[in-house]
């Protein structure tokens, strides 16, 4: 073996050795790869399969049909309609600006609407369709549909929308729906709601009224459609589907025909009225005027319309029947009277002389009739609404007892109705004043409270409830929902008020004669029809203090004051007085005088409720029939056929 050969052999040995090392290293690395694949495919398979399914399966929600709302006779108060719109998917659109301009040209969008669409598109996931136009007329919608092959990423879209066929009549009760907002979801009433439906852009939810308060029932449950999508988000096939469940259908206690009458009768006054069935608490009508068109809100109200509503000093958006609180004035005298009777500090025979005012603690408290009523007992004090009588008896019973009786009749109490704002009013007492005004209760406060002035505040709803309780002697509470999905809501067995029926009869007698006796403050608003005679009580509540100086110069007449200084006019009543069925309260804001402004309205409403139709003129006193007939003709009512037509399908 030569040296050369030896070197060469050594070199081959090096190559062999290193080759073996390398080969081993390579096999080891392949082994590592195998272990890595094993780890991913065997140990982490569940995790990766889940991710693969998340990739491929798109869970799409299907919207449930929103529940319908009917009146007590089955007349539909809302309608589910199709809203025609245009949706755009950013990922499929080439030039966004040009496409939007073309859509705007076809359907007629304003620059503001285009800007809003641009903003919403930029905030959304590019593969999620965004609504760029809605509430389109059919022909504009058809044009988009015809053009959609040329408009990449744009397609026509039909979404459910809500319409209110009886628009202004039920605006305050039903409220309206609108697209769910960030506010609803973060701070509003939906902040605890985790329903995935709310994530659908512009999903319609109740914003006010029954629509909002019964949202959980009306909305229904989302259906789920699972579809397989590819990486571009295109649907390849549908996997399975769980149908949506429509929302519950509600039947309200309201009577659409009476409601229409009430709204029409209140007209353009800033007024409200509540009609209640004394026997079961059903709210038969709840009017607040002026009203507004909820359809405008459901479709997205224009700034001009909104500004007009906000500028109206009669506050059309406020539901005055539950939200408006007023000093009840003389309608509160029944409370004071019942408190005094209940405590036994007065009897039916007690007479007090009214000289037009009393002096208490160096202050003068006036009766509305400046020269006084003369000798007054409980009955005549209600009939003629003498203030001095109540100043006197209130000092004998104390505010605590008056407040206690007030609460028993519903003052300062929250009536639980599914409405946006149900004000609980105020039934003041010593504690309340100490806590809220940091002042001691003085005897003057008691005197003011006894005639429903001072701190006492109540809503028309509370006044109607009080009247129903006095008329029935039971703690009737208002009801607005008659049935849910065809299941009648049970009428509770109303507890007796715990007031001696003789006391109630005394007060009722006063109310009967206040309407039916010539001396009564509401005599002009009496009903003549046998078996429908009405009992009631007027109220006129001051909204300003009257100085002694003004009094000595003669109190400025209501007609001479600016509108917001004029007294509120109130009237509460029930009928028929011998078998009470209907209780009604009417408040005309700054209406001047209860017997002139509120009582005639209440009578018309009560007659309409009792007759179920326009009452005959014979129900009215003869000398008023001419005026009444004129008014009946002028009143703009809906076609009764519309208001009695039942739902076509079951």
């Amino acid at each position: 073996m030569t040296l050369l050969e030896g070197r060469a052999d050594q070199s081959v040995r090096v190559i062999t050795r290193r080759g073996l090392i390398l080969g081993a290293a390579q096999m080891a690395f392949v082994g590592v790869l195998g272990l890595r694949i094993r780890q991913m495919q065997i140990e982490q398979v569940e995790e990766f399969r889940l991710l693969a399914d998340e990739n491929r399966i798109n869970i799409r929600l299907t919207r449930p049909a929103r529940g319908l709302v009917f009146d007590r006779n089955g007349v539909p108060l809302v309608r589910n309609e199709q809203d025609y719109g245009v949706v755009l998917t950013r990922a499929d659109v080439g030039d966004l600006e040009t496409t939007l301009q073309r859509i705007a040209g076809i359907v007629g969008l304003s620059a503001d609407e285009v800007d809003q669409a641009l903003r919403e598109i930029s905030e959304a996931n590019p593969s999620v369709p965004v609504t760029v136009a809605n509430h389109l007329k059919w022909d504009a919608f058809a044009k988009v549909a015809a053009n959609s092959p040329a408009l990449q990423g744009v397609r026509p879209d039909v979404t459910p929308s809500r319409a209110y066929p009886l628009n202004t009549d039920f605006a305050h009760v039903l409220g309206y729906v609108g697209p769910v907002s960030d506010y609803d979801m973060t701070k509003g009433y939906l902040s605890e709601d985790t329903d995935p439906l709310l994530k659908i852009p512009r999903f319609q939810v109740g914003k006010t009224g029954v629509e909002a308060k019964m949202e959980h029932l009306l909305r229904g449950r989302a259906g789920v459609r699972r579809e397989e999508v590819n990486a571009a988000g295109r649907v390849m096939r549908q996997l399975d589907e769980k149908a949506s469940e429509p929302g519950a259908n509600l039947q309200l206690t309201l009577d659409s025909r009476l409601q229409n009458y009430v709204q029409a009768r209140l007209g353009e006054e800033s007024a409200s009225a509540v009609v209640m069935d004394i026997r079961n608490g059903d709210i038969m009508a709840m009017g607040s005027a002026p009203s507004f068109d909820p359809n405008k809100f459901a479709r997205g109200i224009s700034l001009a319309d909104w500004n007009a509503l906000m500028a109206n000093r009669f506050r059309p958006l406020s539901n005055k029947a539950t939200q408006g609180v007023y000093p009840p004035g003389s309608t509160f005298k029944m409370v004071t009277a019942l408190a005094a009777l209940h405590e036994g500090v007065i009897g039916p025979g007690l007479e007090i002389s009214c000289g037009g005012h009393v002096e208490v603690g160096g202050r003068r408290f006036h009766c509305w009739r400046s020269h006084g009523h003369g000798a007054m007992d409980l009955h005549s004090s209600l009939v003629e609404s003498c203030d001095v009588f109540y100043y006197d008896i209130s000092r004998r019973v104390s505010i605590e007892k008056i407040a206690s009786m007030g609460r028993r009749l519903g003052f300062g109490q929250h009536h639980d109705l599914p409405l946006s704002a149900v004000h609980q009013g105020l039934m003041p007492d010593r504690n309340w004043k100490l806590r809220n005004r940091s002042a001691d209760w003085v005897v003057g406060d008691t005197l003011n409270s006894s005639i429903g002035q001072g701190f006492v505040l109540s809503s028309p709803l509370q006044l109607a409830v009080m009247t129903a309780r006095i008329a029935s002697g039971k703690s009737v509470a208002p009801r607005l929902i008659k049935s849910i999905n065809g299941r009648e809501e049970p009428v509770p067995e109303w507890e007796p008020l715990g007031i001696d029926s003789r006391h109630l009869d005394l007060v009722r007698g006063g109310m009967i004669d206040a309407v039916n006796k010539p001396k009564g403050t509401a005599y002009r608003s009496r009903i003549l029809t046998e078996g429908m005679l009405m009992a009631g009580k007027t109220g006129t509540s001051q909204v300003r203090g009257i100085t002694e100086a003004e009094r000595s110069n003669g109190v400025i007449a209501n007609e001479d004051r600016p509108w917001d200084q004029i007294d509120h006019a109130l009237f509460v009543c029930y009928a028929p007085y011998d078998a009470p069925r209907v209780a009604c309260s009417v408040v005309v804001e700054h209406g001047g005088n209860g017997s002139h402004s509120a009582a005639p309205i209440a009578r018309d409403i009560v007659l309409q409720a009792l007759y179920g139709d326009t009452p005959p003129l014979s129900a009215y006193p003869e000398n008023q029939r001419g005026t009444i007939q004129t008014r009946q003709r002028q009143l703009k009512l809906r076609d009764p056929a519309v208001l009695t037509r039942k739902r076509s399908r079951a």
Binding site: I15, I37, A52, D53
Partner: protein, 380 residues
């Protein structure tokens, strides 16, 4: 025994010498290619077009080339090694000046019928020239600095040109392939230690220079690096490929979703599902069983190459076979590491499986050389 004393008389001659080739190796290659056709058929949704059929034609063409290469005596290939290397470097320079721009990278010359990718050829010619170099080099000189610098220059010249195209995958393959050759030839350990440290330093430098005007890599290459280090940070951006690839692979389970049933590839979540990322489709649809079978086939191919290399007493053949087997290994290692998230994404195809002509033909030529060395090995 050195080539100087090579006794050609004992080697088979004439057309019949094809019977002396390594049939096991050939069968293994056909098996892997068959699995590749199956996957291309599957990712096309159960269709021979657009991928499986053209790939079969290419494989047939490649097999013909392999046999032709195998029939030519290994001594011829040894003699033209230097020439082939020079030609491939010239072609790289040509690409630099006239190459068509495709996929954002200037990589091929369009010859009308086929698109020539000089960088692919370079992978082979570098191995060839280094094998020839070390065959001629006196064993005592192997670790002397000058004789280390020469092969280093032979490796780095084409690497530099490829990196400029830019083609990071091929650059890495060239450097690693060259390093493997030097290692097998017996270059002293210390050089590799120094290379490791130096490489680490260079990598650190490349990362530090990012964003400056001297940054050595393209922006997309840095983004791939980011995506590798933290793919979840940008799931819809640069991390998308890695995440989707891991999901596909991981969801395969033991036996996979079945052919054409892989949701990730069928629904286009996988990028490059028929080329660089085809392994994920295979793993998704055929599961761990399919993936590990492929790994086993690959391992056997490498194993038989190594056996063949160790059996030959010709230094050039031995070095060449090791070099080609290592290049083959590097393709596999880099590709699978990439799709399993062990390595950043670099454009390296999976041999005999990925759709594409250049790499396939190059590998077939390489295995033709292996067969030639096998057939023409010195016999005593």
């Amino acid at each position: 025994m050195s080539s100087v004393e090579f006794n050609g008389d004992n080697a088979p001659t004439g057309p019949g010498k094809i019977l002396f080739m390594n049939f096991t190796l050939t069968l293994l290659l056909v098996a892997v290619a068959g699995l590749g056709f199956l996957m291309l058929y599957s990712v096309a949704g159960g269709s021979l077009t657009p991928w499986a059929a053209p790939q079969m034609v290419r494989f047939a063409l490649g097999a013909g080339i392999m046999l032709m290469v195998a029939m030519v005596p290994i001594r011829f290939w040894q003699n033209i090694s230097g020439l082939a290397y020079a030609a491939s470097v010239l072609l790289l320079l040509l690409v630099e000046s006239v190459g068509a721009v495709g996929m954002g990278a200037q990589r091929w010359i369009d010859l009308g019928i086929i698109r020539l990718q000089p960088s692919e050829i370079t992978k082979l010619t570098v191995v060839m020239v280094l094998a020839a170099y070390y065959d001629r080099l006196d064993a005592r000189k192997i670790s002397r600095p000058f004789w280390v610098a020469v092969p280093l220059a032979l490796i780095l010249l084409p690497t530099f040109l490829v990196l400029r195209q830019p083609d990071l995958g091929t650059s890495i393959l060239l450097v690693l392939g060259g390093a493997v050759m030097m290692f097998i030839a017996g270059v002293h350990w210390a050089y590799f230690a120094a290379l490791g440290t130096g490489g680490g330093g260079l990598a650190a430098l490349a990362i530090m220079l990012r964003g400056t005007e001297w940054q050595p890599l393209k922006d997309y290459q840095y983004l791939r690096l980011d995506a590798y280090l933290n793919p979840e940070a940008d799931p819809l951006g640069v991390g998308y490929h890695i995440i989707q690839s891991k999901i596909a692979l991981g969801s395969g389970g033991w036996t996979g979703r079945g052919l054409m049933q892989g949701s990730q590839s069928r629904l286009d979540f996988l990028p490059e599902k028929h080329t660089d990322f085809i392994f994920t489709t295979l793993a998704e649809e055929l599961g761990f069983v399919g993936a590990s079978s492929l790994l086993a086939l690959y391992s056997l191919i490498i194993f038989y190459c190594i056996v063949s290399a160790l059996r030959t007493r010709d230094r050039f053949s031995c070095l060449l076979i090791f070099g080609i087997a290592s290049t083959f290994f590097l393709f596999i290692a880099i590709n699978i590491s990439m799709v399993t998230g062990l390595m950043p994404v670099v454009g390296v195809p999976l041999p005999f499986i990925s759709y594409g002509g250049s790499a396939l033909i190059m590998l077939m030529i390489g295995f033709g050389l292996v067969q030639s060395a096998h057939i023409h090995r010195p016999r005593s």
